[in-house]
């Protein structure tokens, strides 16, 4: 039976020639795992063991399209990855463990991971012992199809290196797993740069921004200088943005002029003003407006719900996108601009005929990092031609859209995790 299973797996496994960087071990995206009952460690509480494994799986999920779900109830044959501790000859395994020291764990390509309980495994940040988290991330990497990688910094190095504080899965290991399972992609609810004022240790007030991507009730902070999302994201929207709808928003707009500094979140027919100082929505803002408010009240002539929106500092207008149309709203006059709504492809024409999102956008995002406006739809984005572009190439129509690119090629590793893993 085992040989037959191996034959099935070997024939069924899609092996991508990946310069020897392993093979794709699973063809499905949601994998079930379990710490098997006969394989509990005698060194850590069961909750600690499961917590560490949940975190280990989540770390791989944050950098790959795979999602992992702990399943304690289904029949064992439905569990894709089974983890257990043992000593010496253990868990029916052909490879006996060697006792304390040297070999600390091994993994089988059928999804079994064994930890040598003669080793002194410790929970994260315990300082001493062998970090169970680091070993688990390594062995899960094997089950997913990664071989040993002899590269400083790789989690797949065969030897255990005492845990540098808070190890993470680095860029090349991310690319290795994405080479097997593809990059992460998917539509976003909105994307924005959130501006906030901070005081330096010298008391000076400085302006900082952070980039966020939101998808339904989750969000990631994107660290542009590191080309990745913040370690540990995504997190639930209501954990980080107090008072906006827990299932996410349609749009974010930051109106920022000499006299106005107002952040708005839009959802359905309503909108909220956000108090960035206190990091929560206003129930009543300094002008006495109570929230949530109807979009049509705060922005006369703009019907909710909208698909997305962005504030254009060049002309002090907010552009609201709805279906195939765009509404330009003059902030100073507090009124819809004359002649709007217009079709999106009229206001933002395609620079290359035919390469245009059409309508029904997911996000319109002005990026301080790129100093450009991006229109996102599905897994693609189009950059709006800037004044600088037109100086270089005058033939480009004003506000035209450059040819599309894939979001995953510009903003990396924005990956979902399983809903059960959102809160560890």
């Amino acid at each position: 039976g085992k040989l037959h299973l191996k034959t099935l797996l070997s024939k069924g496994r899609r092996k991508r020639e990946a310069e020897g960087l392993g093979h794709m071990a699973f063809s499905k995206k949601v994998l079930k795992w379990r710490l098997i009952g006969e394989g509990y460690s005698s060194q850590l509480s069961i909750d600690d063991q499961r917590y560490v494994f949940r975190l280990a799986f989540r770390m791989w999920s944050e950098v790959s399209p795979l999602e992992f779900e702990e399943d304690s109830h289904s029949p064992l044959e439905e569990i894709d990855i089974r983890l257990g501790f043992g000593t010496g000859r253990h868990l029916g395994c052909t490879q006996r463990f060697d006792g304390a020291g040297r070999e600390f764990a091994h993994a089988w390509f059928l999804g079994d991971i064994h930890f040598d309980d003669d080793e002194h495994f410790t929970a994260p940040n315990a300082g001493s012992g062998i970090s169970l988290l680091k070993v688990a991330v390594h062995e899960i990497g094997h089950v997913l199809g990664l071989p040993h990688i002899h590269r400083t910094g790789s989690i797949m190095q065969p030897n255990y290196l005492p845990q540098d504080a808070g190890f993470e899965i680095d860029w090349l290991d991310r690319k290795a797993i994405q080479h097997l399972y593809g990059a992460c992609n998917g539509r976003f609810s909105t994307a924005f740069d959130w501006i906030r004022k901070e005081r330096t240790p010298y008391g000076e007030e400085v302006i900082r921004f952070n980039t966020y991507f939101m998808r339904d009730g989750w969000y990631w902070m994107y660290e542009n200088r590191s080309n990745r999302t913040r370690y540990g994201d995504p997190v639930a929207v209501q954990a980080g943005w107090h008072g906006i709808p827990a299932d996410g928003v349609d749009a974010y707009v930051h109106v920022w002029t000499w006299s106005t500094d107002a952040v708005y979140f839009f959802k359905g027919t309503q909108y909220w003003r956000y108090d960035s100082e206190n990091d929560r929505v206003y129930t009543e803002d300094p002008k006495g407006h109570r929230y949530p408010r109807l979009i049509s009240e705060g922005f006369p002539g703009v019907p909710g719900p909208i698909d997305t929106a962005f504030y254009n500092r060049r002309d002090n207008h907010i552009y609201f996108f709805k279906g195939p149309d765009v509404y330009s709203f003059d902030v100073s006059a507090n009124a819809k601009a004359r002649g709007f709504p217009k079709r999106i492809d009229e206001v933002f024409p395609a620079a290359v005929p035919g390469d245009h999102p059409g309508g029904y956008l997911d996000a319109a995002y002005f990026s301080y990092t790129h100093n450009a406006v991006f229109l996102l739809k599905g897994t693609r984005f189009w950059r709006v031609v800037s004044g600088k572009d037109r100086i270089r190439q005058p033939s480009l129509p004003r506000n035209s859209l450059l040819p599309h690119r894939e979001v995953e090629d510009q903003w990396f590793d924005i990956c979902n995790v399983h809903a059960t893993a959102l809160k560890l």
Binding site: K6, R13, A100, G101, A105, W108, P158
Partner: protein
């Protein structure tokens, strides 16, 4: 520290310690086990039937696998102690150099202290060099050999013809021995 309840700690089982790598013999086992002498068919190992799992002093898994893969001579391929076989020691030296290279050690080809220390570091049990298991000819050969080996009628020459690509010369030299 391990949980104990008895005043004299007698209830804490004497923890077995891993055998250290101390000489070229144990170093050869290490290099063999983790695929530096010949890539290990790690998947195969998981599938060998329990009977083949020999007693505690069972040879390093590679040899179990080679016995299975080879089929012809089912005698145990014990770990040869240091033979003066020039091919063997050449093999050992090049495997050692490969280990030193991937470990970022000075590539001396000698079993020196730095190498000894590195071999005794805590590590994962998955081999560093695995044999691709599902290239079709290897797959068929393995299946055929396994089936024949079970039937006991495989002949050395058959094994030689169907060996996994790239091990032909290795197997031939082994068969000579």
């Amino acid at each position: 520290e391990k949980i104990f309840h008895n005043r004299d700690h007698s209830d804490v089982e004497i923890q077995q310690q891993a055998d250290p790598i101390i000489d070229e013999g144990t170093a050869q086992q290490f290099l063999s086990k983790y695929g530096f002498i010949k890539p290990v068919n790690w998947e195969e190992i998981q599938f060998e039937n329990e009977e083949a799992v020999l007693s505690d002093d069972s040879p390093a898994p590679k040899d179990i696998v080679s016995v299975i893969q080879e089929g012809g001579s089912l005698s145990r391929m014990g770990i040869k102690d240091q033979s003066d076989d020039p091919a063997e020691s050449l093999q050992f030296t090049s495997a050692l150099e490969e280990f030193q290279r991937v470990s970022g050690l000075p590539v001396t080809g000698a079993f020196d202290d730095a190498t000894k220390a590195a071999m005794n570091e805590p590590r994962c049990g998955v081999p560093d060099k695995e044999e691709p298991a599902d290239s079709s000819d290897a797959q068929n050969a393995t299946e055929t050999e396994l089936r024949n080996a079970t039937a006991g009628n495989i002949t050395a020459s058959t094994a030689a013809n169907e060996t996994v690509n790239g091990t032909e010369d290795w197997r031939a030299s082994t068969e000579v021995h």
